[in-house]
């Protein structure tokens, strides 16, 4: 990846699949576990983080020659925190229900390691357009990881999918799927499945 010439396409594929932040790079685990209790929350969180990721990647890429090497981390954090607060305010004003559902995990996007990680590993070294694509791809990769988890947990734990009843009421709800333990175990199994697919792909 790093040696080959980067194109928008390769950067996009890299973020979404090859280095999928949730399933391959194991970044941003806290929000993944906490808000994946339902598919709606998963998508809300995923898209909020995607927005922050794109904006902060673009601005950090623009400022990459201006920010001194020694103080780059605090600089990145200020930029990221600014966009997180903006997203927080915008969600409160325009999507109050999602804002309510995600609660404390919106400000915690600041410390989501995906965002600082991409600033450090990509946006700080690459031109603006590619950084935007990287932010979009990583964000969508994060969203898809969250969505897989949110789907499994909501269907098994609550019998619903995006709030619609999909399992008949007689099917027992597996409460543990909604509890923290279910979050850890589902994510563990999903990552194992991703590893298995990856190893099959390599051997094929």
């Amino acid at each position: 990846m790093s040696s080959a010439k980067k194109t928008a396409g390769s950067v996009f594929k890299n973020g979404l699949i090859v280095e999928n932040p949730t399933l391959r790079m194991l970044l941003g685990m806290c929000p993944t576990l906490a808000v994946s209790t339902s598919a709606v929350n998963a998508v809300g969180m995923g898209l909020s983080a995607t927005l922050v990721l794109i904006l902060s990647n673009v601005v950090i890429s623009l400022l990459r020659k201006m920010i001194p090497e020694k103080l780059r981390i605090p600089g990145y954090i200020v930029v990221i925190a600014t966009f997180v607060t903006m997203t927080d305010l915008a969600l409160h004003a325009f999507f109050p229900d999602i804002h309510k559902a995600l609660g404390i995990f919106i400000p915690l996007i600041v410390v989501n390691c995906i965002i600082l990680g991409r600033a450090e590993a990509f946006a700080g070294k690459n031109p603006v357009l590619l950084s935007a694509v990287d932010g979009l791809a990583m964000g969508l990769g994060f969203t898809s990881g969250l969505l897989i988890l949110g789907m499994v947990r909501e269907i098994l734990g609550n019998g619903t999918f995006f709030g619609l009843q999909v399992l008949s009421a007689s099917f027992p709800q597996v409460i543990v799927m909604i509890l923290p333990a279910g979050a850890f175990i589902t994510l563990g199994l999903t990552i194992a499945a991703a590893n298995w697919i990856e190893s099959r792909r390599k051997n094929a």
Binding site: L63, V78, A101
Partner: protein, 200 residues
């Protein structure tokens, strides 16, 4: 960071030169300005969202009033215990009852606020979870009708507002006892205080 040379005096070498600090300062300045802008742009909208939320909630828990309950509200701030707001609902000159907004801080992640209607003779009407920070999909279920409906038609005389685990009559949400407890407490505290305010 870890490779900083140490001065002979033992002081870390001063390396904060204006040239390094200036860009950070400018970034911070810009982000502060941008945030102030976004805040003032969204403040009005957030206020409207909150106002609409309150009006919808009032109409839900105390249907049929024709006064402006929000203009006649009685507020009681009880510090760390919580906060109570009573909205008198009137039809013509007749007092129908109160919509009670009760906030407690004993939720799993802090503030839990409910609003509910109370008729003039002290019977609870519909209950709505107004604000909370509970775990999505878990504690947040204390906001669903399945849980909140059990408070309907209850009163201090006929109902014990504790979860069954604590010897009361409230069926807690599975896996969210703390959130359920907070909602029950919020309802109970409002009722107890309403007795003092109204004096019946």
């Amino acid at each position: 960071m870890s490779a900083e040379p140490i001065h002979a005096t033992g002081q870390p070498k001063p390396q904060v030169s204006p040239r390094i600090i200036a860009p950070i300062f400018i970034i911070a300045l810009f982000s502060g300005l941008a945030l102030a802008l976004v805040n003032s742009a969204t403040a009005e909208r957030i206020r409207l969202v909150k106002e609409k939320e309150l009006n919808d909630a009032l109409a839900l828990v105390m249907p049929g009033f024709d006064n402006q309950p929000a203009m006649e509200k009685i507020e009681k701030d009880q510090g760390k215990q919580g906060r109570l707001i009573f909205y008198p609902a009137k039809k013509g000159d007749q007092l129908m009852g109160y919509a009670v907004e009760s906030t407690v801080f004993t939720g799993y992640s802090g503030e839990v606020a409910v609003i509910y209607g109370v008729s003039a003779d002290g019977v609870v009407g519909r209950v709505k979870l107004l604000r909370h920070n509970e775990t999505p999909g878990l504690g947040s279920k204390a906001g669903l009708p399945g849980f909140l409906n059990q408070f309907e038609k209850s009163s201090l005389a006929s109902f014990r507002y504790q979860v069954k685990k604590d010897g009361g009559q409230v069926d807690a949400v599975t896996g969210a006892t703390i959130s359920s407890r907070a909602v029950a407490l919020a309802v109970e505290r409002g009722l107890q205080d309403l007795k003092l305010v109204v004096g019946n």
